[in-house]
């Protein structure tokens, strides 16, 4: 039972990681690419590490639980640092004066630096 659940979570996480990698290649510009890069990775990490924590905790001994809690602490760390890093990258783009890709048929131009 635990093995099935872990496998499902791991597979789901890997699909998100794959989506992140494909997204970086497919999306049109620097800013759009950050969406799959920064966030699908976070989701993939949550699922894969969640699977590992579950699998470890299933051992049932105290040491196993401590290891599971440590893994969850890693998830918490990533949930704080990942948006910060993503924001730093976006900010670097804005400071360098790169304007985002927009659809041509929408017309209106936006100036990020304004």
């Amino acid at each position: 039972m635990m093995a099935v659940l872990t496998t499902l979570l791991l597979t789901g996480g890997l699909i998100f990681f794959l989506g992140g990698a494909v997204g970086i290649l497919r999306f049109p510009d620097f800013y759009a690419r950050l969406h799959p890069a920064g966030k699908l990775d976070t989701m993939g990490l949550l699922l894969t590490l969640g699977a590992m924590a579950l699998y470890t905790a299933a051992g049932g001994r105290l040491g196993d639980w401590l290891t599971a809690i440590k893994i969850l602490l890693i998830v918490a760390l990533v949930f704080i640092t990942s948006p910060t890093a993503t924001h730093a990258i976006v900010d670097a783009g804005v400071r360098a004066g790169l304007s985002p890709w927009m659809r041509e048929d929408e017309g209106t131009e936006h100036d990020l630096a304004a």
Partner: protein, 173 residues
């Protein structure tokens, strides 16, 4: 930034000190995983040191009861946030593998003024927006002006709306 220390937690060994000590000690025990006298003793010693120097920072300004309430409401906010992240992640994942992706996305820069008025609330809102796939906070000022990059119309729709409301609720009362 300096906060005036609220009355009642002024004493060095007040409740604030002990809460800091207990949290440090739990962290130590979880990370070390050794429960013999020597290792727990080291942990107690360093936890004491941290709480001695830093204990009053646990409840800056607002007072201890309020801070604890905020922590509790923040803890209630996290599961909701994870649920939002999960929903939005699926949306971006489907977008990524869609052959007609280039016709479905519509990147935009959305600006809005947040009604949150404290820095921690703005920080949590900015990070929550960035964590949710489809939206990235480009800029957030201390006065609540937000600039957000959104990937498509569905992601832009929810801004700031419900998320801001939830964050505001953490700091209520």
């Amino acid at each position: 930034m300096t906060h005036p220390v609220a009355p009642g937690i002024r004493s060095r060994f007040g409740l604030s000190f002990w809460l800091t000590f207990i949290i440090c000690m739990i962290t130590w025990l979880v990370l070390s995983g050794m429960f013999d006298l020597f290792h727990t003793g080291l942990g107690a010693l360093s936890s004491f040191g941290v709480a001695w120097i830093n204990g009053h920072n646990f409840a800056p300004g607002a007072g201890l009861g309020r801070t604890l309430g905020q922590w509790a409401r923040f803890a209630a906010y996290v599961p909701w946030l994870v649920w939002q992240i999960w929903r939005a992640s699926l949306h971006v994942l489907i977008l990524t593998f869609d052959p007609r992706m280039m016709r479905r996305i519509n990147p935009r820069i959305v600006s809005f003024k947040s009604r949150l008025n404290n820095e921690m609330g703005l920080f949590i809102l900015a990070n929550s927006i960035t964590l949710t796939p489809g939206t990235i906070t480009v800029f957030a000022s201390v006065f609540g002006r937000f600039t957000v990059h959104t990937i498509d119309d569905a992601s832009a729709e929810g801004l700031p709306g419900k998320m801001e409301e939830r964050v505001a609720r953490i700091f209520e009362a």
